[in-house]
């Protein structure tokens, strides 16, 4: 029953066709598109700049001038949230890109060559992963000094081992396939072989993990900012906004509520999309 339409099993159009049927995944795709659009168009749609202080109206609730109210410096919360999408998304996307590129390279090389190189890379990753993830990113961020750029580096580096391991495991199963042997037998260069044949066939589980990784990076980045080791004031990254609002929780708890909801929505959307992608790419779940 599973064998029908065997040829299109791993093709992109087939995955797309199945992904489209997954309502949750489609909705989250739209949500993510909307968030990305907000991030890009923030200066156009935000009613105020993120640094503009309305000194007469600090810590106010919702009003006509400020839809979601203002913070302790009289800055418009809505505008800060809209601008915040830029920094949170940038953190998620760039950090994940760094970890994906490094992880895929390390994992592919280790998985393809095996033997001594594999051993060397894997032992290095063992050391790397011996440090608990959160502790590693926090340590990196603290050592590099708190800033947006350094937080991104810390997150990107912190997420490498997971991707590398996944990629390696996936490569190991692809490496033994006949078409790889065929490519080798016609003298294809290693690099050509890896890039042209092995990676495209082994990438599926990694793509799922990368999708979810963006969400995780946004979350971990917010955590860094929350403890003061990430994005610094006055940049309105969502985690930094929660950290800022924390001292005023008793008087105005909604201040911390909004950025948290933004993080949750974004991460939820990435997770749902990741779940949907995983199901769409799993040949056993066809139909």
């Amino acid at each position: 029953m599973v064998k029908q339409r065997h040829n299109s099993q791993s093709g992109l159009p087939e995955i797309w066709r199945r992904l489209k049927k997954d309502k949750a995944a489609v909705i989250s795709m739209f949500v993510l598109l909307a968030i990305i659009l907000v991030a890009v168009l923030a200066p156009l749609i935000a009613p105020y700049g993120y640094e503009v202080q309305d000194k007469k109206h600090p810590m106010e609730g919702s009003s006509r001038a400020h839809l979601l109210g203002t913070d302790r410096l009289g800055r418009d919360i809505l505008s800060r949230l809209l601008y915040g999408a830029r920094y949170s998304l940038a953190m998620g996307f760039i950090a994940t890109a760094i970890s994906a590129v490094l992880g895929i390279i390390l994992g592919s090389v280790a998985g393809y060559y095996g033997g001594r190189i594999d051993n060397l890379i894997m032992r290095f990753l063992d050391i790397y992963q011996g440090i608990p993830m959160i502790l590693l990113t926090v340590t990196l961020a603290a050592v590099l000094g708190p800033s947006l750029r350094n937080a991104i580096i810390a997150l990107g580096v912190g997420f490498v081992p997971g991707t590398a391991r996944l990629m390696r495991a996936s490569i190991l199963t692809v490496r033994e396939k006949e078409y790889i042997e065929a490519a080798k037998s016609v003298n294809a260069r290693d690099a050509y072989n890896i890039i042209k044949h092995i990676i495209p066939n082994a990438i599926a589980p990694v793509i799922v993990s990368i999708t979810m990784g963006i969400g995780n990076c946004i979350m971990a980045g917010a955590q860094l900012s929350f403890v003061g080791l990430g994005v610094q004031a006055p940049i309105p990254e969502w985690g930094a906004m929660i950290s800022d609002a924390r001292n005023y929780m008793r008087g105005n708890p909604t201040l911390a509520l909004y950025p948290g909801i933004c993080i949750m929505l974004t991460v939820l959307a990435f997770n749902l999309l990741g779940d949907g992608l995983r199901d769409a790419m799993d040949p056993r779940l066809k139909n």
Binding site: D126, Y128, I131, G145, A222, P253, G260, V267
Partner: protein, 326 residues
């Protein structure tokens, strides 16, 4: 089995050596002058030089590394730059809090997560299942520190049922434990559900149903047992994560644990404390992962058999399993 344990224990040594080397390099690369931090901002140059000499910062990296390892093996990490106390002593007095918090939250998460996962998988695609997985996904996607803040706001500030911070009474453990347990339970439930669904499709489940076993027996004796194996790894991973990285929860609830210790050390650039706590927490987390792997090997005949080939029984069992898998 013993060979496996010994082998894994031996692998841990180079890993820990590597971790301490990485930490040393990181600190070495960090901008800013350690000696000046210790001597104070207003110290004269010669005073800074003196401090530098005292802390042996002029020695080459490899010598400092050797000294650090030598001391670490003897159980000392030096004295903290900030409070001038012995780092090892400080860490040992804080460690029990971290262990208790991690143990409590993971235990609760297991007892919530596994039943939900099993229940959800046996009701696949019904509204109960949909609700359960959506709630689980919701909890996984929630920033834990934000959730903790909201809990404090509701249960400590508004309702006043429990204290918002500290460890003065047993009541103060509720919020930190709960704030961690919710996300853990959610990921255990998700893992449990997908494993159950995977296992239920296997041939041996069809067989056991075909031979007329009671549905309860099929689920709990045959499916659950096999589906639990990967969950052990998830739970263990969460436990080692909680031991090694509950720094934010500990900080929010002002618990005197190791996580908040390392975070304070990091923000203060208190190098002996950073080196000590990172190495200590990594050791704990590595040991945890080792223990999980041993448990894993013990419950999974496929792995056990690799290291006990002489015992025929285990080998046979593994072969059977292997076939069922393929």
């Amino acid at each position: 089995m013993i060979r496996y344990v010994v082998k894994r224990l031996l692998i841990m040594i180079p890993i820990l050596l590597g971790i301490s080397f990485i930490v040393l390099i990181l600190i070495d690369l960090a901008p800013g002058d350690v000696a000046r931090t210790v001597a104070g901002v207003e110290a004269e140059d010669w005073e800074v030089e003196q401090v530098r000499e005292q802390l042996h910062l002029n020695d080459p990296l490899i010598v400092r590394y050797g000294r650090f390892i030598w001391n670490a093996v003897h159980g000392t990490f030096g004295t903290s730059f900030i409070n001038k106390k012995d780092v090892m002593h400080d860490m040992m007095s804080r460690f029990p809090y971290t262990v208790l918090l991690a143990t409590l939250s993971v235990t609760i998460a297991v007892f919530i997560g596994i039943p939900i996962g099993v229940y959800s998988s046996t009701n696949q695609y019904t509204w109960k299942d949909n609700l359960a997985i959506f709630l689980a996904l919701f909890c996984v996607s929630m920033p834990p520190f934000w959730f903790a803040l909201l809990l404090v706001q509701l249960f400590a500030v508004k309702l006043g049922w429990v204290p918002s911070a500290g460890v003065a009474s047993w009541k103060s453990w509720f919020l930190p434990t709960f704030s961690l347990a919710v996300a853990y339970a959610a990921s255990i439930a998700r893992q449990m559900r997908s494993n159950m669904l995977e296992v239920i499709r296997q041939d041996y489940i069809v067989t056991s149903r075909a031979k007329g076993l009671h549905e309860g027996t099929v689920l709990f004796r045959h499916a659950l047992k096999n589906a639990l194996i990967p969950v052990i790894q998830t739970v263990g991973g969460l436990y080692s994560m909680a031991l090694g990285g509950a720094l934010i929860a500990e900080t929010i609830f002002s618990m005197p644990g190791l996580g908040s210790y390392s975070l304070t050390a990091l923000t203060n650039r208190d190098y002996p404390a950073i080196q000590g706590s990172v190495l200590f927490l990594s050791t704990v987390s590595c040991t945890m992962i080792l223990l999980i792997d041993i448990v894993f090997a013990f419950v999974d005949p496929r792995i056990r058999s690799q290291y006990a080939r002489t015992r025929k029984k285990a080998g046979k069992g593994a072969a059977k399993r292997g076939k069922a898998e393929a």
